[in-house]
Structures are given as C-alpha cells and as structure tokens.
C-alpha cells in the first residue's frame, strides 16, 4: 500500500443556501479544492462522492456523474462513484478514494461529499432513514428519539448531566464563531442551551445539530505525486471503517458504539499510535451525547467518564485535546453526506496551519464520522 496525501481542500458555506442548488454547492467546494491544489482538472483520475439521499432530497439520482459533469470533467470521462452510508456517506467516500490511491489504482482522485436538504420540508424524516425505518422509525423512534434513549441510559448509568450535554453545544458554537463558513456563528450561553425546548427528552433543541446544505471536497494523491503539487501534503495514516447492527435495540450496549471502538482500535494499530497521541479531533456530534460517547469510544476517556473532558475544558479550543475546532456538526452544520469530507477539510487546514483564528497546535488529527446511531463508523487519522 502507498502513502496517500491530501493536496487540496474545498468547502462551501454550510447552512440554508436558498439561492444555491445542488450543483452550485458542489461546484463552489470543487473549484476551491482544485485551486487549492493547483490542479487544472485533467489530472483527476476518479471521483468518489458521498451523498445520502439526493433521490429524496432533490429527486435526482445518478449524481456522481452529475457532479463530474458540472465540475467540468465530462469530456475527460473519469469514472465516478456515489457512496451512500447514511450520514457517514462522506467518510466512506473518503475511504474509497483513499483505497483507490493507496492500492496504486489511481494517482489523483477527488473525494467529495454533498447534500442539498432545504428543498424539502421533511429533512429530519429523510435523515432518520439512516436508522431502521421498519422497526425503529415506524415505532416512533426517529433519530432524536434514539439518541435521547442513548443519552438517558448514559445519564442513569454514569451520572452524565443535561448540563454536560449543553456544554458540548456551547463549546461548539463558540468554535464556530471563528469559522467563516459555519452555519451558526454566534456564541450561546449555557442557560440558552438548557432553557431550549425539548425535542426528545432529555435532548433539547440545542443538543441537536441542524441538518443543512453544504458540500466539501478533498483531493488525494499518492505521496510521489503529492510532492509535485504542494509543500504541505497532509498524510492519511489510517482510514478504517466498521459496521454494527442497524437498529439500536439489537446492540450489545446502547451507551457504547462498538463500530467506533472497533474502527478506532484498528486505526490506531495501523497508524502505530495510541489515543493519547491524538492532538485534536473532529467527531460526529449530530447530537451532543454522541460527542461525549465518542470521547469514550475513541479512547480519550474511560467508559462513563466522557463528560469529565467537557467539564474540565480538555476538549475546548485552548484545551489539551481540542474537539470540533470547526464548530462541529452542531454549529458548523450537518450537511449529511458532506460531513465526513468536511471533517477532513478542517483537519487538513489545522495541520497545514491554515485554520485562521481557530488554529490549534498539533501533529496528529483524528476524524470520526458516524452513520445513523452507529451502524457505520469511519475513523481517519491524519498527520503532516
């Protein structure tokens, strides 16, 4: 296997992009990535596009070729693959692109993620189809309700408090004020989060990430080719994926995402590092409880002690292990299939020293992208 590097990154603004269609959003991210890498376009050998549900969100399928077409690649006839894994679609697309380069099949590929969700009124219903529609959602358990049951059990078993969840939201909103492309760029107080209405008890409005429009692109190249294009290649040291039972009720323990445990242990093994070697991370805070559980399942804290990290400020921007420097899904916005790539963009910017006012120090960054309630997990470890 060859070493694989990120040589260019691009990201659209995330949010309710009323004046932009699916194609506009993708192109804004794609052009930025090509310019960042200094590519003309002809160098691209394949495209992997993460997208959860264009068929339901915009009524358009076959979007991998559509993306290549509107990226100006139609006459180059590059192969294009759409990748779907719920809201882990972006992470899985990144892994497919990574494998294509690592294996020697391709030298330069695009890993993209895109979602246009605001053209329909039922965005959460569609996102909830990343859970088990027939046996969870039909029974009244949409994604917020499922994460709420996870949260209640975590609170009961380990003493995690609603205040801890609110602190995750406050932290991520604060980080997003330093990110020009974030959806929500204003600080919120702990009281605002705690006083927001319940969506699914014990989760409140400010515990739930907003589903939004957005696209992200990273360009991957083999180590040898990367050196031709950039002095600051960001290497992917490991990119692992694991799956688990689709429905929460089938799992061994609902307060642990075994797919995250499995994927991260495998990633640490391949990268030859330990959890303590990670300097900063982007994790999948689709709901605030998911960030706290991620601390535990990634090995940053012991099982049940995740809330300590947020209480003690360890994961704050100026803490020892900053998490979600971008603002996370909660405040940067959760553009579903784009999120896994968006996390890679943030980590690459941080490792290059291009993260502006939210810049943190570090040699090793980690991203965690989750599908549904944990039936898919993708863990990627990056370094300079």
């Amino acid at each position: 296997m060859r070493r694989v590097a990120i040589i260019g990154v691009g990201c659209s603004k995330f949010g309710e992009l009323w004046d932009m269609g699916f194609r506009d959003i993708v192109i804004s991210a794609g052009i930025e990535a090509l310019e960042d890498a200094g590519l003309e376009g002809r160098e691209i050998e394949a495209v992997y596009a993460g997208n959860m549900s264009a068929g339901r969100y915009i009524g358009q399928e076959h979007i991998a070729s559509l993306i290549a077409d509107y990226s100006g690649l139609a006459e180059l006839h590059v192969p294009c693959v759409r990748v779907e894994a719920g809201d882990a679609s972006g992470g899985v697309a990144l892994r497919q692109a990574y494998m294509a380069v690592a294996s020697g099949m391709h030298d330069v590929v695009i890993a993209a993620g895109a979602e246009k969700v605001t053209d329909v009124p039922n965005a959460m219903e569609i996102l909830s189809s990343s859970a088990d529609v027939e046996w969870e959602v039909f029974n009244g358990a949409n994604l917020p309700a499922l994460y709420a049951m996870i949260a209640r059990m975590h609170m009961k078993r380990f003493g995690t408090k609603e205040e801890d969840l609110a602190m995750v939201s406050v932290k991520n909103h604060k980080n997003a004020t330093l990110n020009p492309k974030a959806m929500f760029r204003r600080e919120i107080s702990l009281e605002t989060a705690l006083n927001s209405p319940y969506v699914a008890e014990p989760l409140k409005l400010f515990d739930c990430a907003p589903i939004c429009d957005g696209a992200s692109v990273v360009i991957l190249a083999s180590e040898e080719v990367a050196r031709r294009y950039t002095d600051t290649p960001i290497y992917i040291k490991a990119c692992t994926q694991a799956s688990d039972y689709m429905a929460l009720h089938s799992r061994r323990d609902v307060t642990t995402m075994d797919a995250v445990v499995f994927a991260s242990r495998e990633a640490y093994r391949i990268a030859k590092i330990e959890p303590k070697d990670v300097d900063f991370a982007e994790v999948h805070d689709s709901f605030t409880i998911a960030e706290i559980i991620a601390y535990e399942d990634l090995g940053f804290a012991k099982k049940g002690e995740g809330a300590k990290l947020i209480r003690e400020g360890v994961t704050a921007l100026d803490g020892d292990l900053p998490v979600n420097t971008s603002g996370g899904l909660k405040a940067f916005g959760h553009a579903v299939g784009a999120t896994g790539i968006r996390q890679a963009v943030e980590i690459a910017l941080q490792l290059r020293g291009d993260a502006g006012k939210r810049q943190v120090d570090g040699e090793i960054g980690l991203s965690l992208n989750i599908g549904g309630t944990g039936a898919t997990a993708v863990v990627t470890i990056f370094s300079r």
Binding site: G140, A141, M149
Partner: protein, 128 residues
C-alpha cells in the same frame, strides 16, 4: 405502500420474532440468520410473551408523522422477558415511567395515511 406494511403484520401485531436453537438467542424483529452462530445457527420462529421491562425511554415532542396526533408521545427501549430488545411506543403518563418498569404488549392503532388511506396498527406497550 400496502404490501410493504401487510407482509410484516404477523410480527407487528403478534410480536413474532426468532429464536436460535443453537445458541439460545432471541431476536425481534425476526431474522433468517443468527448473527452469533451464522451457518451453524438453527433459527426458528417464536412468539414472545409480550412482557418485559423498560431500559430507557424518551418523551418525544417533535417526532414521527404518524404519532403527531398524540404528541408528545413516549418511545421506550424494552427488554422482553425472553431477552430480545425492542423499541416501541409506550402508552402511559410521562411521569409514570421508570427504569425497570414492568410493561406488557397491547394491540393499538398507530396512525393513518390521511382520511382515505389505510390505518396502521401495531404493538404498543403499557405498564403492567
């Protein structure tokens, strides 16, 4: 839409799941393959007693369309006495729910596809 719902009616109405005679595990909804034994598994159909206990729950204020008539509603993660777990609506006062509370399955209306559409029924749980 109709066949998609009808072909699951036996399991939805009567809590029919699976039991692996090789390892003793119970599953709901039914599975054809035991995820513990795979090819060595001997999976048979089983009807659950309908009794169990609440492991976790949520009072849902912004939920699934079929349930909007009764918003807020409760969904619970329930461990059936045989060992399988199920996520299902819990029909009781939100203040009543406790971890470990004994519950039993009941046949209830879930919702309908508009005024002219079919009516969905299924299994909800109530306190014993």
């Amino acid at each position: 839409m109709l066949p998609k719902f009808w072909r699951k009616i036996r399991s939805r109405y009567n809590l029919i799941g699976s039991h692996c005679e090789n390892c003793g595990s119970y599953f709901y909804p039914p599975r054809n393959i035991c995820p513990k034994c795979r090819r060595k598994g001997k999976v048979r159909e089983v009807q659950f007693s309908g009794y169990g206990k609440v492991l976790s729950w949520s009072v849902v204020h912004d939920g699934v369309e079929n349930f909007w008539l009764s918003k807020p509603y409760i969904v619970a993660l329930i461990e059936l006495d045989e060992g399988a777990k199920i996520v299902a609506p819990l029909d009781c006062n939100p203040d009543e729910v406790r971890e470990g509370m004994r519950v039993k399955a009941v046949f209830r209306k879930f919702g309908e596809d508009g005024e002219d559409g079919i009516i969905y029924y299924g299994t909800k749980f109530v306190p014993v």
